[in-house]
């Protein structure tokens, strides 16, 4: 239950730092681009920006990057790795330090996944989520298109898959199993 103390807080100045960086020498756009390019450690075809996990990146006057991220699911075990990767990316892009803050509100939804993220998921054989925004339990739902052969003749094997955000499906047309990002 413990994340490395140096990365967990997110308060300014509590994250990792580099040796002195001359004031005003940090390229904020480069830091932002580097952080946005961090890939999700469990679904490595999409970036944290594609997934909507990345909320904000700014560079303070002292050259420290301040990054705000949000978890997909409360217990997502990838968050500690994402915090570490974000800090490393910001430092590698020249930031003097990196403070990564985790926020909960507004709660993450699969509706926050970008169009390019959806395309990358589909290309990797993972069915992108349909629209979220449902309230309460739903026992019946429309089918999910098979990302391999495009058939709608699919069935859900389990509403929990290889990661917290995925469900397991099977295509009865091409007979292949596939993951779906659950509308959430």
């Amino acid at each position: 239950m413990v994340s490395p103390a140096s990365l967990s807080g997110g308060r300014p100045g509590t994250g990792p730092s580099r040796a002195a960086v001359p004031a005003g020498s940090v390229d904020a756009a480069a830091v932002r681009a580097a952080v946005a390019a961090v890939v999700d450690p469990e679904i490595r075809v999409v970036t944290i920006e594609d997934l909507g996990i990345l909320r904000a990146v700014s560079v303070a006057d002292d050259g420290r990057a301040r990054v705000t991220i949000t978890p997909t699911y409360s217990g997502c075990p990838a968050m500690d790795v994402i915090r570490r990767d974000v800090a490393e990316a910001a430092l590698a892009a020249g930031a003097a330090g990196a403070d990564v803050e985790t926020v909960l509100a507004p709660a993450w939804s699969t509706d926050m996944i970008s169009e390019s993220g959806r395309a990358k998921l589909a290309a990797a054989g993972i069915a992108p989520p349909g629209p979220a925004g449902r309230q309460g339990p739903v026992l019946l739902r429309l089918s999910v298109r098979c990302p391999r052969c495009g058939s709608m003749a699919t069935e859900q094997l389990s509403r929990f898959g290889s990661t917290a955000c995925k469900a397991l499906w099977r295509c009865t047309e091409c007979r292949e199993p596939f993951d779906e990002i659950k509308p959430h």
């Binding site: 699911y73 409360s74 339990p137 739903v138 397991l168």
Partner: protein, 261 residues
């Protein structure tokens, strides 16, 4: 963000919410590599992870407000059984008399718990405490999945073979007496509910009965009848099962203080 309830009340309320989630996660974790099929194994582990995630957020917040330097680990690993505030329902071993370890009991407990947690978190989304509202907004979406999962299995086993129906009915007979504690009210919940921070659980009972009753009907199971209503978890009185659960959960941290992944 600062609510009108006292620090002590808010800490106590957060422990009730957080301990329900933490102890549920620990019990569900016991099914890792032991569930009846691989998809179910993964599902129960995922549900455990959701509950653990909510527990971490709630206990971290409780520790911050308390201001005594206790973090989520200190609260999870270094409290004794009488200091836990979870309802007794969640600590029960997933066992039936004569049968031993039983998947039906795990499902019956999950149905009863998630049918309580889902509307509870729904209401807490509009808590006047922004931090609680934020945690609830994430948890409510996850508990909807837990309720779906428990519903599907209850129906499948209840409306299944004679043997599976008997076991599911037996499981609800074990669990049912412990469900009443979930909806008990006391001075603390009255105060946090009056401040708009928390929810008086007795107001969730009617909705819960409709949801669970509907699922039992679909599963061709009767609503169990019981006059025995054990209680005490919210004030730290627990069943024997709790001490065994904590021993397993806490042994590593107590043997190796500060151990981290």
């Amino acid at each position: 963000m600062k609510s009108e309830v006292s620090t002590a009340d808010l800490v106590e309320y957060l422990l009730r919410l957080g301990d329900d989630a933490l102890v549920t996660a620990q019990r569900l974790g016991e099914w890792s590599a032991r569930a009846p099929e691989m998809e179910t194994d993964i599902a129960l582990s995922n549900i455990a992870l959701d509950q653990l995630g909510a527990a971490r957020l709630l206990l971290t917040y409780a520790g911050e407000i308390e201001g005594a330097g206790r973090d989520e680990d200190a609260l999870a690993y270094l409290r004794a059984d009488h200091e836990f505030r979870n309802a007794q329902l969640v600590e029960l071993a997933d066992e039936q008399p004569e049968l031993g370890h039983d998947f039906g009991v795990a499902i019956a407990k999950l149905l009863c718990l998630s049918a309580y947690q889902q509307p509870l978190y729904q209401r807490l989304c509009s808590s006047t405490d922004e931090r609680i509202a934020g945690i609830a907004a994430k948890a409510v979406k996850e508990s909807a999945y837990h309720l779906d999962f428990a519903t599907l299995w209850t129906v499948r086993l209840g409306d299944g073979t004679g043997a599976s129906r008997d076991r599911m009915a037996g499981a609800f007979a074990v669990v049912w007496p412990y469900t009443y504690e979930l909806f008990e009210t006391d001075d603390l919940v009255a105060r946090v509910a009056a401040a708009g921070v928390g929810v008086d659980p007795s107001t969730l009972r009617e909705h819960w009965s409709e949801v669970v009753g509907g699922v039992l009907a679909m599963a061709t199971l009767d609503v169990p009848e019981t006059s025995w209503r054990p209680t005490g978890g919210r004030t730290g009185r627990h069943t024997e099962a709790m001490s065994y659960l904590l021993a397993e959960m806490q042994v590593l941290h107590r043997a190796h203080p500060g151990a981290a992944w």
